[in-house]
């Protein structure tokens, strides 16, 4: 009887502890984003009010409308700290800095980068993980060592290269280098995943009448989906957040800026409009956060296959 009781007590105690730990981690991970979200929902100027409101009493989407450039002059007329800009001018500036363009640009750049770096690195990963040739380790190290080079080292020559290709101020100037910034890491992740697949499958497909390139597409790629997903998400996030190259090759032109470059521009222009900056932050993160949430199981499974085991 007492043993049973103490068991139940212990189970409850464990459950309580688990909940506490979960809450602690959630607080650690989510507080900053929560506060940014709450700031973004405040009316303009309310972010400076003391005592701070952890959650706005009257949430408003005003800031989001401003960030997306669909704000009306009248809305901007309300007093804002440190601003001496007329509402009409401000409305014009707000519209010119609308976050719609950077979001679209980032989406294009990141999708293209993810797609092409997956394509290229799954080919190279296949060669490294599953084909027989000499200098295999050397090839892998050659690729990996490349990825160690800080972008601060390569930025200037890359910029000059893009110039001579005539690609400055185009999204291609961000897409092409970013593809290869992600190839080494993707190759590694995917190769580790490929290496775990049984070799019999490939042999079976060969005798079933498939050529290596067909086997690659029909057998290896579908089976390595989690690994590919992991690598794809890495590449997508990597290029979504890439700042230095994007800000150099976009040369300050809003029409070709991606989210990070536009974000900096925006935060410089509206240094005090923290409701707006917060809304811009939320908008820049929302899509990638959502995407990663949907695929998080695959991302982790992709890493499980061996990339991190070495």
């Amino acid at each position: 009887m007492s043993a049973k009781l103490s068991h139940r007590y212990r189970t409850q105690y464990t459950y309580l502890m688990q909940t506490v730990v979960t809450i602690l981690i959630a607080v650690f991970c989510l507080t900053p984003m929560f506060y940014i979200l709450s700031t973004s929902l405040k009316p303009r100027g309310a972010e400076y009010m003391i005592p701070l409101e952890l959650w706005p009493s009257k949430p408003t989407l005003q800031a989001y409308r401003a960030v997306l450039g669909i704000v009306e002059e009248a809305e901007l007329a309300s007093e804002s700290k440190g601003s001496m800009v007329l509402p009409a001018d401000q409305a014009r500036i707000v519209k010119s800095l609308s976050f719609v363009t950077p979001l679209r640009n980032s989406l294009i750049v990141s999708s293209a980068v993810a797609a092409f770096s997956l394509l290229i690195s799954s080919l190279s990963a296949y060669a490294i993980a599953r084909l027989r040739f000499r200098y295999k380790i050397q090839s892998l190290i050659f690729l990996q060592l490349g990825a160690m080079i800080p972008i601060a080292v390569t930025i200037a020559p890359t910029f000059m290269l893009m110039r001579s290709l005539g690609l400055l101020r185009t999204l291609l100037a961000m897409i092409i280098p970013n593809i290869f910034y992600n190839v080494p890491m993707s190759t590694w992740l995917i190769a580790c995943y490929f290496a775990e697949l049984p070799f019999d499958l490939e042999d079976a497909a060969k005798v079933d009448g498939y050529k290596p390139i067909q086997i690659f597409w029909k057998v290896i790629i579908p089976l390595a989906a989690p690994g590919l997903f992991s690598a794809g998400v890495f590449a997508f996030l990597g290029s979504w957040g890439e700042f230095m190259l994007a800000s150099a090759v976009s040369m300050g032109i809003p029409a070709v800026q991606t989210v990070p470059a536009a974000m900096l521009n925006f935060s410089v222009q509206f240094r005090y409009e923290w409701t707006w900056i917060s809304a811009a932050i939320i908008l820049s993160v929302a899509l990638v956060a959502f995407m990663t949430l949907v695929f998080q199981r695959w991302v982790i499974r992709g890493l499980t296959a061996g990339a991190v085991k070495y």
Binding site: N105, L107, I108, S111, M251, A255, Y272, V294
Partner: protein, 460 residues
């Protein structure tokens, strides 16, 4: 699994679409250099016997400047609108475009560096900081405007511009830009009402400021003594120059070596550090940009404020200001032996070496510095102006009664530190001075380090 598969399909479609979008027409940059042919439509009237088609080559001139080109603070059009109107009435075949740069000088400067390195022909006219002209000219990125090789600016235009400022934009004898388009001069704002209440006259020396601030702060709890911008930034460097000259120091000695480790300079820096130590300036000044420090004065929380003259414009605006009629503005004080000086922060306009329509650019530049546009500019933004006639124009004075004040302050303008290494020097100074005012370094060590680094950078 199936849920993820749905997403997978969705993402794939998205990727394909995005890729198509990227391969398709690339998003047009805001400014495209193009010669466009405008065909005047044929008018169909009975009286006209023959139809006339006039093909016209239109040249686009692109001006790079920040968002302030889009703004007006007075009863006039924003500058870009004024320029467009003026240019298009005078030169119908020139089209003016604005390329908006960053409002942060540093970002703005680095943006230019990338453009020039790319030898980018898009931008024809560039707004340049007063200090940048030397640097860009040394690098060969700017088109000289008076070297006898076209395009050269019409002397009739330059004759009307204030010579001292033109000199600031001259490098090795060559005029590199016209300015100031927008000029700022540092001066001291003070609370006239409070000084009168406690029987003080406007301060003449830096010691006066301390005495006055201490007295009033003791009697008026909650008042901040003196606000200025101490963020690690050019604004801090600008303030530093004012203290430096105010205490009798100077930038360089005759041999061109850094002279900012002189006893006068040390006295100046120690004075700045003591302002914070003694609580006359709050420790937060070290985090403030100009606007942050200004806000406190405008909202009536500070006795003194050092800043540019452009704040005048809204000190008397009851909507923005709580100190209407309670303020005064004088040139910066100086210690005995020092010079009352305000740092000149001018924005000039220069023509890019890589521009592919320099002649048209020069025409636009001339229009920009001609009286009508200059007057409009003063009416909309009220800066220190390049054109002399603006200061005496009745409309301008009517709109801005502080114009005589501005003229007085403008006389104290400090010649800028002109060096191709200016950005590095400014950074070094910002870092070292900031380190000193945040207590990270002793003032003497900071200045010694600063000079050592500056000499290294300039090769002395």
């Amino acid at each position: 699994m199936s849920r993820e598969r749905k997403w997978l399909v969705g993402i794939c479609i998205l990727v394909v679409l995005a890729t198509l979008a990227a391969c398709g027409p690339t998003p047009t940059p805001q400014v495209i250099k193009e010669k466009e042919t405008v065909v005047v439509p044929v008018k169909e009237t009975v009286t006209v016997k023959e139809t006339v088609v006039v093909p016209q080559e239109k040249t686009t001139v692109t001006i790079a400047y920040n968002q302030y080109f889009n703004m007006t603070f007075g009863p006039a059009d924003p500058p870009i609108v004024a320029i467009k109107k003026a240019v298009e009435s005078k030169y119908p075949n020139i089209k003016v475009e604005l390329l908006v740069t960053s409002t942060e000088a540093k970002t703005w400067h680095d943006m230019y560096t990338t453009w020039f390195m790319a030898k980018d022909p898009t931008v024809d006219i560039l707004g340049v900081g007063g200090y940048w002209t030397a640097e860009f000219a040394e690098a060969g990125w700017l088109e000289p405007l008076n070297d006898g090789v076209a395009p050269d600016v019409d002397p009739k235009i330059t004759a009307k511009l204030i010579p001292a400022y033109l000199e600031a934009h001259t490098y090795k004898g060559k005029l590199m830009g016209l300015g100031p388009w927008w000029g700022g001069i540092g001066g001291l704002y003070y609370r006239k009402d409070l000084l009168e209440k406690y029987g003080f006259k406007p301060p003449q020396t830096y010691d006066d400021v301390v005495t006055i601030a201490k007295t009033i702060m003791a009697k008026e709890p909650g008042m901040t003594g003196w606000t200025w911008s101490g963020k690690k930034d050019v604004a801090l460097v600008n303030r530093w120059f004012e203290y430096l000259y105010g205490f009798g120091g100077k930038y360089f000695d005759d041999a061109g070596k850094c002279a900012m480790n002189s006893p006068q300079a040390l006295a100046a820096l120690e004075y700045m550090v003591n302002l914070i130590k003694d609580g006359i300036s709050p420790a937060e000044v070290a985090t403030w940009k100009e606007e942050d420090s200004m806000v406190r004065f405008v909202s009536g929380q500070a006795i003194f404020h050092t800043g540019r003259q452009d704040m005048l414009f809204w000190l008397d605006n009851p909507e923005k200001s709580k100190v209407v009629g309670k303020w005064g503005f004088i040139p910066n004080p100086a210690q005995p032996g020092g010079r009352r000086s305000g740092t000149y922060e001018g924005w000039a306009f220069a023509i890019s070496k890589f521009s592919d329509s320099k002649d048209a650019a020069l025409k636009v530049l001339e229009v920009m510095f001609d009286f009508p546009v200059q007057k409009e500019l003063n009416l909309s933004q009220g800066p220190v102006q390049a054109h002399m006639d603006v200061y005496t124009d009745p409309d301008v004075i009517k709109n801005n009664p502080n114009m005589p004040l501005i003229e007085e302050i403008a006389k104290t303008a400090l010649a800028p530190l002109s060096s191709p290494q200016y950005p590095e020097i400014a950074d070094i100074l910002a870092e070292e001075i900031h380190a000193a005012i945040t207590g990270l370094k002793a003032p003497k060590a900071a200045l010694t380090d600063a000079c050592a680094r500056i000499d290294l950078a300039t090769g002395h």
